[in-house]
């Protein structure tokens, strides 16, 4: 599955969601991404990896979409393991992604 925008790309393959580029849509324009995450959750994977190492920028509406439509939904699935791959090149990732742990107990945040 792939969503391709002007400055961003989101793919899902073999349990890995990769988000890259710059994602700064208005709140209402995140609907497509919410549906995308819904489909991922409905496929009942035992493990989800979110790779945002090439995601240069994500606005607050994007943060809300990932938190609510992906992480909180995943938290409701028993025994689902979640891993987030981050890059320490981007300050916003260093400052914000570790707080996602508050939303789900079984989440691993890895910087590289």
């Amino acid at each position: 599955m792939t969503i391709q925008g002007e400055n961003y790309k989101v793919t899902y393959q073999n349990g890995v969601i990769s988000i890259s580029g710059k994602l700064s849509l208005m709140l209402e324009d995140y609907e497509e991404l919410e549906t995308f995450f819904e489909e991922v959750i409905e496929s009942r994977p035992s493990e989800i990896t979110i790779d945002i190492r090439n995601l240069e920028y994500l606005n607050s509406s994007g943060i809300k979409t990932i938190c609510v439509s992906l992480i909180l939904e995943a938290a409701d699935i028993e025994n689902l393991q979640m891993k987030i791959l981050c890059s320490d090149r981007y300050t916003w990732q260093k400052e914000t992604v570790p707080t996602f742990k508050d939303l789900m107990d079984d989440i691993t945040v890895l910087f590289g």
């Binding site: 606005n59 607050s60 943060i63 809300k64 938190c67 609510v68 909180l72 938290a75 409701d76 916003w92 400052e95 914000t96 707080t99 996602f100 508050d102 939303l103």
Partner: protein, 426 residues
């Protein structure tokens, strides 16, 4: 656990998750807002132009350091002042706002703005409507045009000077040609008059007439010689001289010829300075300048100051006197405290045949000759004068060396001539 309880538990977890999400998003937005504000302040304070944000009512909400600097208001004053008071004519702000309303933005709005001290400067405004701190505002960037205007004035002045120089060269070439031909004609007149005189008995009345004609022809010859000197057709031998001794000597002669109601003062601050010159020509420069000063002080008395000093010509002097090159000069100044020169003629005083003296009292060649001599010496002459404040003529001679600087390669000691060992100090 019953299904109902399971659902309740799930709902509770979701509510807690949403609260945490709200915290995460709010924290993230706060950091972004802070970063953007910081970015805005850094950009506005780093940009090399004055900028401000104001309401349409005139209240100023934000201004950068350059705006504060250019208008000269303290931070506290700036926050209190109405934007319209920054305009020389406060009504101009109305026109500015109207333009902004009609076009959605303002580009290159020419206006005169007013500083805290009341002085006015030309500026060009660029403005757009923005939302700042939740209010509809105008972001205005001010382009100070003062320097641009000054540069334009300098350019126009240089153009005028260039045109004047070209005109002078053309006149010089033409006058030189006429003087040369006129000299040839005079030679024939002299020869024929002398022959005629020799053929007549000594007591003849005609001999006296011929003598008068010869005297007039001699005056004509002297005049052509002056014109040729002005045109630099005559080559003079220039040698290294201590200009101070030449000036001191000329001063003695000038002082002795000056009426008692005029005081002549001499100030030498460049005793060891050496220039390449023809002392006779330096004498002529001083005589011509002092003769004009005498004329300015005639019937009223006063002071003539002759000053010799070493100066350096930099970019400022080059702008004022384009003929100067950057470097060290010896400047000979002849200043009088006479009536000064009217503004409308000060640019013409070096023009040949220009004179303010009554008919028969001056040829209008004195200052032209001074300029010709200075040009031939690789220097320049300039004038400072205002009506009622006297006049000062500055003659700039390129400095070759100072006595203590002399080395054999520059100039053997024995070639440096001194007219006298002790120069006169004023």
């Amino acid at each position: 656990m019953s299904n109902e309880n399971k659902e309740k538990d799930k709902l509770k977890r979701r509510i807690a998750g949403l609260e945490k999400t709200l915290q995460i998003v709010t924290g993230y937005s706060g950091r972004i807002e802070k970063n953007l504000r910081q970015l805005f302040e850094v950009v506005s304070d780093t940009m090399p132009v004055p900028m401000m944000i104001s309401l349409k009512t005139g209240a100023i909400l934000f201004f950068n350091g350059n705006a504060q600097k250019i208008f000269g208001y303290s931070e506290k004053e700036f926050r209190k002042i109405a934007a319209s008071l920054l305009y020389e004519n406060p009504d101009d702000r109305g026109i500015f706002l109207k333009t902004l309303e009609d076009k959605g933005e303002v580009r290159d709005f020419a206006v005169n703005l007013k500083k805290a001290d009341g002085s006015v400067f030309p500026a060009s405004l660029f403005s757009r409507q923005i939302v700042f701190e939740g209010q509809n505002c105008l972001l205005t960037v001010i382009h100070d045009l003062s320097e641009l205007k000054q540069e334009e004035e300098k350019r126009l002045m240089l153009e005028r000077q260039l045109r004047q120089t070209q005109k002078m060269e053309a006149i010089g070439t033409m006058a030189g040609g006429i003087a040369h031909d006129f000299n040839n004609i005079l030679t024939v007149i002299f020869g024929k008059l002398e022959l005629a005189s020799m053929m007549l008995p000594g007591e003849s009345k005609v001999v006296r007439y011929i003598a008068d004609a010869l005297a007039a022809a001699r005056r004509a010859k002297a005049m052509t010689k002056q014109i040729l000197a002005f045109c630099r057709k005559t080559e003079y031998a220039r040698k290294p001289f201590h200009i101070s001794t030449v000036v001191a000597e000329a001063y003695k002669m000038i002082a002795s010829l000056t009426p008692s109601d005029i005081e002549v003062r001499l100030g030498i601050k460049a005793e060891s300075a050496i220039i390449l010159c023809d002392p006779t020509q330096i004498h002529q420069v001083m005589m011509n300048l002092c003769s004009n000063a005498h004329h300015a002080l005639r019937d009223r008395g006063g002071v003539i100051e002759i000053l010799l000093e070493e100066v350096r010509a930099g970019s400022q002097e080059k702008i004022m006197i384009p003929a100067l090159k950057s470097g060290d000069y010896v400047r000979l100044t002849v200043r009088d405290n006479g009536p000064g020169i009217e503004k409308n003629i000060v640019d013409r005083v070096f023009d040949p045949f220009f004179t303010t003296k009554p008919s028969g009292e001056g040829t209008g060649m004195g200052l032209s000759i001074v300029r010709g001599i200075l040009q031939a010496h690789g220097g320049a002459v300039s004038v400072d004068s205002e009506p009622g404040k006297g006049a000062a003529f500055h003659c700039w001679f390129p400095l070759v060396a100072q006595t203590e600087d002399l080395t054999e390669s520059v100039m053997p000691q024995d070639t440096v001539e001194r007219h006298r060992k002790n120069s006169v100090r004023g």
